[in-house]
Symmetry: C2
Subunit: 109 residues, 2 copies
């Protein structure tokens, strides 16, 4: 069985409910690590560990701004997972997407 | 933190590399459980257990045809995961999809 290390990292990261909840929280916009950590019933060290897994998977980026470390969603990992899932769907089902988009967004001209 | 049991099941199922490899194998088309099991170095019972997790997540459907149990990818679980991932991406990034589709598929009229 061939393995794809990037996809392995992404789905491993997404397999954990806490990490998914962090991504949900970050989808409202970038925030500091301490603000991100607020609703989670765990130590800051545990939050940082989860963040590292998300970072290694290309799902989150962190950046030091002054004295604060800010986190934000990184789209590349999310896109990689979406593409993997899409490629697993039957061709006829993927074609439905285009039909839906067509019905949803009629040409305005 | 709100939980979504369906999404939890889907990402739990996708978190395992063997189950992802099963989905990859099934993306070429439906096949019997024994054919699906062929490349995996595990007992048929272990394969069936993985299949059950995939089924409960809405990622695989199995159907008994005569004396053979046939499996195929079920699109609904895959779509649910794709939608969850897509909703986590920043708005500007999602807009890029539409631009890409537009550049890729110019209106033929």
């Amino acid at each position: 069985m061939k393995r794809n290390p990037k996809i392995d990292r992404v789905f491993h990261a997404l397999g954990d409910p806490t990490r998914r909840a962090m991504l949900e929280r970050l989808s409202s916009g970038p925030m500091s690590v301490s603000l991100l950590a607020e609703p989670f019933d765990m130590s800051l060290a545990a939050v940082v560990q989860h963040l590292q897994v998300l970072q290694q998977a290309g799902l989150v980026k962190t950046e030091k701004i002054g004295r604060v470390r800010s986190c934000r969603v990184e789209a590349s990992g999310l896109r990689a997972a979406e593409e993997w899932l899409r490629a697993r769907r039957p061709e006829w089902d993927r074609k439905l997407d285009r039909l839906e988009q067509f019905l949803d967004k009629p040409d305005k001209r």
